[in-house]
Symmetry: C2
Subunit: 380 residues, 2 copies
């Protein structure tokens, strides 16, 4: 028999909106199960009375039908269950139930009493615009690729991109520390190339190297990037853990804008009956974890997100979340220059348009292709 516990803590709660697949009875049983599974992980009849039952166990705040086989449940949790740490907060939101079919996280509703534990994006939209000195228009981004090019050739590409008017040049997320373009050499060469171009153009183009790396090397690479003069960092939190991005964002000695790459996170969004919504994962959670911009594959490219899913990411990137700054949606993934007008129409000015391989396709001169990209964006 377990002891009755009094916690003497206020009952501030946060809520998660889950989409449940099944009939009304299934949905109620699932919602009830979520309340236990995500907190006490204990058989209901054995949960001790008192504060554990009354506060620690999740509570169903509402359960509404969406259609005949889908329900929306709002489940609230005591903020203290998160320990005010991102790893455990994500665990409460979707740790064990990620293993259960029929449950999808739709939206996070986090009160200021919880959000105060998280700094969120250091720059956000305004901070990135200030850094680039681009107050109004959409931002232009491209990637250094293909993997296999030596650092010197990648730097030549970076020079051409910066000369042509690209705002953000990122490493392709598959550039790590391979022998054909070692991280330190690549970063130094690309920073130098972009600096040279900036001196010619008078622009403030920035290079963002990829710091997706082993756990004991992420900070080292980020510090190297900072010391070398890189203007930002790219990271894929699906590979490093979300909190590694949060750590980067919070580090005052680094203080660089961060681009969130979705690699290895796709399985959360490819199954409509399990996972996390595009809105929550690439919008709200990327932001909570400190990203200043969130890359995702735009509809109509190499991937299969729908227009509505993409639009919802932009919404999650900007929705009110206490003091957390709004961030840029960064649609990419098989985009070409012909997609720019529609991207502008869908996302408005507050977006980063990422065109990678497509930028090599428009014409034989890369610099000219970039100039055309910039003109397109400036005249929309």
């Amino acid at each position: 028999m377990l002891p009755r516990v009094s916690l003497n803590l206020s009952d501030e709660r946060f809520s998660i909106v889950y989409r449940l697949t099944g009939n009304a009875d299934d949905a109620y049983a699932q919602a009830r199960d979520i309340c236990l599974e995500q907190t006490v992980e204990f058989p209901d009849e054995l949960v001790p009375d008192g504060d554990i039952r009354d506060h620690i166990v999740g509570q169903i705040e509402s359960l509404q039908p969406v259609d005949g086989t889908h329900f929306e449940a709002v489940v609230s949790y005591f903020v203290e269950t998160s320990g005010f740490e991102l790893t455990q907060l994500i665990n409460v939101i979707f740790g064990n139930i990620s293993i259960k079919p029929g449950i999808r996280v739709e939206r996070l509703q986090l009160p200021a009493s919880l959000l105060q534990a998280f700094k969120g994006p250091r720059f956000g939209r305004e901070g990135v615009r200030a850094l680039l000195e681009v107050p109004q228009r959409s931002l232009l981004c491209t990637a250094l690729k293909p993997m296999g090019l030596p650092a010197k050739d990648l730097a030549d590409l970076a020079y051409a991109f910066a000369l042509g008017g690209i705002d953000i040049i990122k490493d392709d997320h598959g550039l790590a520390d391979q022998s054909f373009a070692p991280y330190n050499e690549r970063v130094q060469r690309c920073v130098d190339a972009v600096d040279r171009a900036n001196r010619k153009t008078g622009r403030r183009c920035i290079y963002m190297p990829n710091v997706t790396a082993p756990a004991n090397k992420v900070m080292e690479r980020a510090h190297f990037a900072k010391a070398s003069g890189a203007g930002g960092l790219l990271i894929a939190p699906g590979l490093t853990g979300l909190d590694t991005m949060r750590r980067l964002a919070d580090d005052n000695a680094i203080a660089l804008p961060i681009l969130n790459h979705p690699a290895f996170q796709g399985s959360f969004v490819t199954n409509p009956a399990n996972g996390i919504s595009h809105y929550a994962l690439f919008g709200q959670i990327a932001r909570l974890a400190g990203a200043d911009a969130s890359i995702f594959p735009n509809y109509g490219g190499r991937f299969s997100f729908s227009r509505e899913e993409c639009r919802s990411i932009a919404e999650g990137a900007g929705v009110a979340m206490a003091h957390l700054k709004p961030i840029f949606p960064a649609p990419g993934g098989g985009m070409s220059l012909t997609h720019v007008p529609e991207m502008r129409q869908i996302y408005g000015r507050d977006a980063i348009f990422l065109i990678g391989g497509g930028l090599h396709k428009h014409g034989p001169d890369l610099v000219e292709n970039c100039r055309y990209f910039l003109q397109l964006v400036e005249h929309l």
Copy 2:
């Protein structure tokens, strides 16, 4: 026009077996797409001739029908694309294509030339058995819960479990550093409780605290656990990133066995047409990332894995992978004592049987319940 590159590197390759959903034409197109997407991420017609096209781009080694709508493709990659780092290796295996429906990782086929970069499990089955002085029988594991109990009460539970003959007492994975049972206090109290019980029983029961924590606190908590005398560590790599577990396993100053918890990894396995097989994720990849045992929800409990999926995890935990030690499958998730005989039959002796809440249910005396669990296992 991109330069032709000569890499002057040997062409050692590793292979991944993917299960593709679609017809024969779809499958070929998907396999071809994987080769590009996971490496150069570049339009085929723009990939420079020479070593980038011939070595860096993935290669279809075979493509076989499984049934009318499923195919198995073996795609090989140049080992150097991984940079010999776990984050980038996982990225090559399933980074961007995690976002594409219809692709599932079935098996990893990694040559010694790649595996040499990874130490794998420090203890493995034999090492854990030696530590516990249990050479033959299946191992008994339980969890400290429910969340909300103060550290003192959790330590009382730990004492009872250790007295009753449990081999491994782990934190519930939702115990982080919450104010109701702060990490340091909990670890010290539970270590002490288990030590007291061990002095009574003469056994070598170990306590494994949960070090799933913010990126800048994992190592600190692990070092605290080691210094306090904890016998192992629990971590959920879905929450921390897989490489954080690898880092823990590789740290010679810590040198403790590691239990892999599947929280937040479920979405990789709940969709048969996208993700990673149970065999690869909870077997091969957990092992590659240094786990000594892999917890997963057994069939017939609170979760929905099938018997075959569970059996495949045990297979992945033991299959030959160069020098990587075989590890224990640790089925749990809603198991009770009545499940033990069947678990023994399915997994054999080389398994850890995890019974959490169910251990409180058998009778009113926890110590007696544990003794019964031990008897059950000893007489099978």
